[in-house]
Amino acid sequence: MTVEHDNDAAAELLQQVEQALHDKLALRIQGGNSKAHLGRMTHGALLDTRVHRGIVSYDPTGLVITARAGTPLAELNAALDAAGQMLPCEPPHSEAGATVGGMLAAGLSGPRRPWTGSVRDYVLGTRIITGHGKHLRFGGEVMKNVAGYDVSRLMAGSFGCLGLLTEVSLKVLPKPRHSLSIALEISCERALLKLAEWGQQPVPISAASHDGQRLHLRLEGGEGSVTAAHDRLGGEPLDTAYWADLNAQRLAFFADPRPLWRLSVPPHTGPLSLPGEQLIDWGGAQRWLKSDADALIIRAIATQASGHASCHANCAQPFQPLAPALLRYQQSLKTQLDPQGIFNPGRMYAEI
């Protein structure tokens, strides 16, 4: 814990935005820069959010934590851990420097995502410096809040293109009482069938990944349900470090030098024939792919499966192109919220 480094730099950040608006110059928002591989290159003056850091409030029995955008994710997780709680969406923090703001801006969720929800699902409120140079608050620290438009959740996964996040309030949950990981020697095809079947039953799965040889499962809940599920499913015990390694992309699979792709597909999608090495996560809903095949080919496969593909290796077009009408409204939203286009222009799409 680095409490002594807590610092409220909102005024300085606001000044930087005002300056950018005045000079009509773009800003490149950066936290720990741990997601540099994802998204397009964006040119602009560096705005480092890490000066604005620290946990503002944490009420464990209220299940809410509020932190400044530049707070290291590791610091947030340590505070939660000390109170027996967690961010259920398990955001990856492969680099030590990942920040809370970057977590929200990238909107990436870990292995638990299909069962407990995404980063966006845990957002309760945000503070944002807007493209009009105002520091505003949306949402708050309460679980239910339907006053006005849900600007806070819109920020999740927007890669800083709609405004500068300065503070986030997140819902947190107690850690499960028991956790047990197992590996089953079954084929990928059979694993996907079984996962679809278990999904319809109250089996306490909280992570499921297939590496081509084995199905890795994490069972979490009370002792009774975990033990009963283990008795039923059998399998070899698995070191729980597997999940952290998967989430941080430290498994051998990720060492392959070819570009990394993420295919997001409906959970019950069967085996996909992909041009490269693949690793199944999210119980089938997320397929990691190492491939140097043409982006068009990979995207066609994802689209065919009713999903989409994103390239995690500094591609020219990292995200799946949007339908023309949808792109138009997204541009329109960007123009309304950031009329001068100063926030991370082009980070997601050339047109946004």
Partner: protein, 499 residues
């Protein structure tokens, strides 16, 4: 300050030519059912907020998607405001019609298009009732989690528009957490797909933005919801307390023990007595507060958690502790809570239901302040509280036939909502802003924040033709409202002209 649409503060609406609109609609869609006579329009003059009524210019009841597209195109062309409506059960007047507007009723789109057990989703038309989805999924052991108390009648399109909640939100989330995809039409009649069959989709998360947008950004034409496996078992504990503070502390203790109940409800003495009188649920009528705690999941875990919660409640000073011994008793315990509104309705000719949320730690102070306000305004208030997620439903008892009582009830309600904002909460947890809380929006948000909301609206509906006047107040309305309610010793919009 009156909440009915007032062009002086809510913005001038375009002048409309009813005969021209009618003939254009008829010419292009001879099959479309249109209501335009006074007696036919009458049933549509309000939604669940029945204290406020406005007769719409026209009501259209399309059955086909192409008809909705054409209606929107014609209205856009002729600059006629459109108010979308589902089942009309909303409590905040989100579907309150406009005299100069068309009421677009989507209730006839009531087909379940697909139940997919392997994919655990249901694809339905917007007029399908909330409960009908769970009923259709039940043969597969699945259900749709959000359960607003109107679930027998409310439709899923309205649930999406309002981001509806229910009694199980702490564990299972709101509507926004249980959606995969919506198909919608823009104000110009253009089709957009938001979200996808996968767990995420590229671009900005417009699905999150649209959920709870109260029909201001588009018209929902299809909804794909997530389905969950039904919990194996559910058990309910009932604990009585001799003070509301102790009950509030017990809630925090349950969470601190690492337990997230499926449902966690609190009622105060007036609500307990009303419910007991009506339902005979077996509630202890001398208790100052009761807690209902439902634990659901796999049998072994639920038994384990019940043990833990019993201990927590005993330590917290429960004067009585009961566990429903069978399904019949469980249903009876819940029946008292689920019928709390009509039960309170028996105590008084009218009641006004509030929907504020607060950080749970503020509960004792807020309840004391409500009790003080109740004395000040000379109106009784019964409190029903989704204790797990901080959503309060104070019920203000009044008699509309007594001169001045409705005004007093509304003023008291407004004070309660402002109190919620003051302690860091919100003026609405699940019922929506609609027209009902349009003035209190000025207390929750600054003029810059409201301006940003208007910018969001402009990105999708620059002409302001979709459900104008709902959800986000104009700065003029806030200036007028602020002139009457000085906020934190300052007028909220000192730089605005007043008239």
């Amino acid at each position: 300050m009156n909440i009915l649409y007032d062009e002086r503060v809510d913005g001038v609406l375009p002048a409309t030519d009813k005969p021209a609109l009618l003939s254009a609609l008829r010419a292009q869609m001879p099959e479309l059912e249109i209501l335009h006579s006074e007696e036919a329009l009458k049933p549509y003059e309000c939604d669940g907020l029945s204290a406020y009524r406005t007769t719409p210019m026209l009501v259209v009841l399309p059955r086909e998607l192409e008809q909705v597209v054409t209606i929107l195109r014609i209205c856009h062309q002729q600059r006629v405001p459109v108010v979308p409506r589902g089942a009309g059960t909303g409590l905040s007047g989100g579907a309150l019609p406009l005299e100069k507007g068309v009421l677009l009723v989507m209730a006839r789109f009531n087909r379940i298009l697909e139940i997919n057990p392997a994919g655990r989703f249901a694809r339905v038309q917007p007029g399908v009732r909330n409960l009908a989805i769970s009923q259709a999924a039940a043969p597969h052991g699945l259900y749709y989690a959000p359960d607003p108390s109107s679930q027998i009648a409310c439709s899923i399109g309205g649930n999406v528009a309002e981001n509806a909640g229910g009694v199980h939100c702490l564990k299972y989330g709101l509507t926004v957490h249980n959606l995969l995809k919506i198909e919608m039409l823009t104000v110009e009649g253009e089709c957009l797909t938001l979200g996808s069959d996968a767990l995420d989709s590229p671009g900005f998360d417009l699905l999150a933005l649209f959920t709870g947008s109260e029909g201001m950004l588009g018209v929902i034409t299809e909804v794909t919801v997530k389905l969950l496996p039904k919990p194996q078992t559910a058990k309910v504990l009932l604990a009585a307390f001799d003070s509301v503070e102790k009950a509030g502390r017990a809630v925090a203790d349950i969470i601190a023990a690492g337990i997230i109940p499926g449902g966690l409800e609190m009622m105060d003495n007036l609500a307990i007595r009303a419910a007991e009188d009506f339902i005979h649920a077996g509630y202890p009528i001398d208790a100052e507060a009761i807690l209902l705690c439902e634990l659901d999941g796999v049998e072994a875990d639920v038994d384990d958690d019940c043990q833990r919660v019993r201990q927590v409640l005993q330590h917290a000073g429960a004067t009585e502790l009961r566990q429903a011994k069978d399904e019949a008793e469980r249903v009876r315990f819940w029946a008292g809570r689920k019928n709390a509104f009509p039960a309170v309705g028996r105590l008084s000719p009218d009641y006004y239901c509030m929907d504020g949320t607060i950080p749970r730690r503020e509960l004792p102070g807020v309840l004391q302040a409500i009790a003080d306000l109740s004395i000040e305004y000379d109106l009784r208030v019964a409190n029903v509280f989704h204790a797990g997620d901080g959503n309060m439903h104070p019920l203000i008892l009044f008699d509309a036939n007594q001169p001045g009582e409705l005004d007093r009830a509304e003023a008291l309600g407004g004070k309660i909502l402002e109190l919620c904002v003051k302690v860091g909460g919100s003026i609405t947890g699940e019922h929506g802003v609609g027209r009902e809380k349009i003035n209190q929006m000025c207390a929750q948000f600054s003029s810059d924040e409201l301006t940003l909301f208007h910018a969001v609206k402009a990105a999708f509906d620059p002409g302001g033709l979709l459900n104008p006047g709902k959800n986000i107040p104009t700065l003029h309305r806030c200036a007028e409202f602020g002139a009457m309610h000085v906020h934190h010793g300052q007028l909220p919009f000192p730089d605005l002209e007043r008239f």
